[in-house]
């Protein structure tokens, strides 16, 4: 299945990924190649087969909602990871609209 250029652009928009024109063209071919490859799964009859999301068999693992800043890292240390301005323990980003 060949993806159109618009489909590639739309996926990039959903993924919040900037792409150059050259990348859009390249991915048009490469993504189509990958999708063609995985289409072989359609050969497999999966009627009545339930999906596997994970293999541990664990369900609903709960834990106390503790504040872990002392055990892991305090807010000041975490905020050091950003390159954007910090105000009142919050990272200042560009306007949304």
């Amino acid at each position: 299945m060949k993806l159109t250029k618009d489909q590639v652009k739309n996926v990039a928009r959903l993924a919040r990924l900037g792409l150059t024109e050259a990348e859009i063209e390249k991915f048009q071919t490469q993504l189509s190649g990958i999708l063609d490859y995985v289409e072989q799964l359609n050969e497999v009859n999966t009627d009545g087969v339930s999906p596997t999301a994970q293999v541990t068999g664990l369900v609903n693992i709960l834990r106390e909602d503790e504040i872990l800043s002392e055990k892991i890292a305090d807010p000041a240390e975490l905020l050091k990871c950003t390159n954007l301005p910090v105000e009142k323990n919050q990272i200042k980003v560009k306007n949304v609209f």
Binding site: G18, E77, N83
Partner: protein, 488 residues
């Protein structure tokens, strides 16, 4: 012979017999790294000062009788996806190039308490996405057996560092073969653990339903010693089941494999695979028979769909995990004066991610998008169930499954770069094990006529690490493939 060529158990014995100190052992590894790094590029960061400080501490502690066990004072390397407090951790991506973690991963914490001496952080494909380390933003690693060839990947830096004696052991991650394939290509031993056996808290995620952490080592006994420290439930990683942690070294002294039932999956001996690889693995199987194992052919009928399942589920989960790299909480700020937050994300992510990451994010986003989810992601999850059932059925009939780790030996650097599907085929013999979440031990079992290592994998039921380590240890007691060193 350099001290750096020792295994963990040999080095641990030497330290206690006072034949050498941890400082001497660490210096030997650092010297090897200093000489070889211009050729190999196994490391993306060498923490020499820290290593010598920790080694000195270890010597003092051991002298005082504060003995923390086999890993105490042993110089080692971590794939650059393990968060190390205060030590740069990049996932070999431009988007994390200056990231200094504010905390340690659980495994790092455990290893620190066991007296870890960190030599450095090793090269990987960007966010572990690749089979050759060629997608690393620090450039590719080179195979110690032939530096024009790839180390395999993604844990290629760890594998090369262990194979070339630039450290005594390393940790890697295995999502679709990333410990086993580079171990095979570099002629060393690597353990892909049962999904959930080792905590992933603080390890940078790639595909969360498949990622595992494990040892990259010089023999099976070393893998067991590391497992004794790193395995177990972690309340910070809710995917770690509360399954008792055995002593992984307990069964390693077995003399033979009498009564062991070994299955050979016919789907792993296929036309088109390298004849020398097949011959070596078949010879190894003869060896297992001589040691008392009963061998029979089995079938894992959905093997051929493994890659298809993997290359939907993995990019889907990659696209979700990569969403957090938006240039806000960490990573370089976007340049070029973006107008709003949307444009900021586009620019930060465009500049931060390399080609393969963009490709996987795109495939994953497409597979998860409205209208396509059922056709791709859900379909893959259903076929995943069938792959899991293949292993369940087979492992009810036999104790372990033995198969080649890779269909060929290490390829030339650059050979697969132009064609993503060709690169994905590298994982053809390894991905199904991740899909089913079972453990597998990769061990060296021969060499090609070009003197390139060949490997096989010993696969067991979930949590059967003690058994596959025993099989590996008995095999290694009777062979010396794992003792061969690259002449570098």
């Amino acid at each position: 012979m350099s001290l750096a060529s020792l295994t963990i158990h040999e080095a641990a014995e030497g330290l206690r017999a006072k034949k050498f100190s941890s400082v001497e052992l660490t210096k030997a590894c650092l010297e090897r790294a200093k000489t070889l790094e211009p050729k190999l590029n196994s490391y993306v960061l060498i923490t020499d000062k820290l290593a010598l400080e920790k080694a000195k501490n270890a010597d003092n502690e051991l002298a005082k009788g504060d003995d923390r066990g086999a890993l105490h004072g042993i110089p080692m390397a971590l794939k650059d996806v393990f968060c190390t407090k205060g030590v740069r951790t990049t996932a070999c991506s431009n988007i994390l190039k200056d990231f200094v973690p504010p905390y340690d991963a659980t495994v790092v914490k455990k290893l620190k308490s066991a007296g870890m001496v960190l030599v450095g952080k090793t090269n990987t494909d960007e966010f572990t996405c690749g089979a050759s380390t060629e997608t690393s933003c620090f450039g590719t690693s080179h195979n110690p057996w032939d530096i024009t060839r790839t180390t395999g990947g993604s844990s290629g830096g760890s594998a090369a560092a262990v194979a070339a004696d630039e450290c005594i052991y390393a940790l890697g991650t295995d999502t679709g073969g990333s410990i086993r394939q580079p171990s095979a290509y570099c002629g060393i031993t690597g353990l892909k653990v049962t999904y959930g056996r080792v905590s992933r808290f603080g390890v940078i995620s790639m595909a969360s339903s498949l990622d595992t952490i494990g040892p990259i080592v010089k023999d099976a006994q070393d893998a067991a010693l590391i497992m004794n420290i790193i395995a177990g439930r972690d309340k910070f990683d809710s995917t770690t089941p509360d399954v008792a942690v055995p002593d992984y070294t307990k069964d390693l002294s077995a003399k033979d494999l009498k009564g062991l039932k070994v299955g050979l999956p016919k789907e792993y001996f296929i036309p088109g695979m390298d004849g020398e690889v097949e011959a070596s693995v078949r010879l190894a199987i003869e060896n297992l028979k001589k040691l008392g194992a009963q061998v029979k052919e089995i079938s894992l009928p959905h093997t051929k769909y493994g890659l298809g399942v993997y290359y939907i589920i993995c990019p889907s989960e990659v696209s979700a995990n990569m969403a957090r790299y938006d240039g806000v909480r960490y990573g370089p700020a976007a340049s070029g004066d973006p107008q709003d937050l949307y444009e900021y994300y586009l620019k930060a992510r465009e500049a931060g991610f390399g080609d393969e990451m963009k490709r996987r994010i795109m495939v994953g986003t497409y597979a998860l998008s409205s209208g396509y989810y059922d056709a791709y992601y859900l379909k893959a999850q259903k076929v995943r169930t069938l792959v899991c059932q293949d292993f369940e059925k087979a492992l009810n009939d036999v104790d372990v499954i033995v198969a080649p780790t890779t269909p060929a030996t290490a390829f030339k650097i650059g050979d697969n770069s132009a064609d993503p599907v060709k690169m994905y085929l590298e994982d053809v013999f390894t991905v199904c094990i991740n899909i089913a979440g079972v453990p597998a031990l990769a061990v060296p079992c021969g060499f090609s006529s070009k003197k390139l290592p060949i490997g096989m994998q010993i696969i067991g039921k979930q949590f059967a690490e003690p058994l596959i380590l025993k099989v590996g240890a008995v095999y290694q007691k009777n062979t010396d493939w794992h003792k061969q060193k690259p002449g570098i």
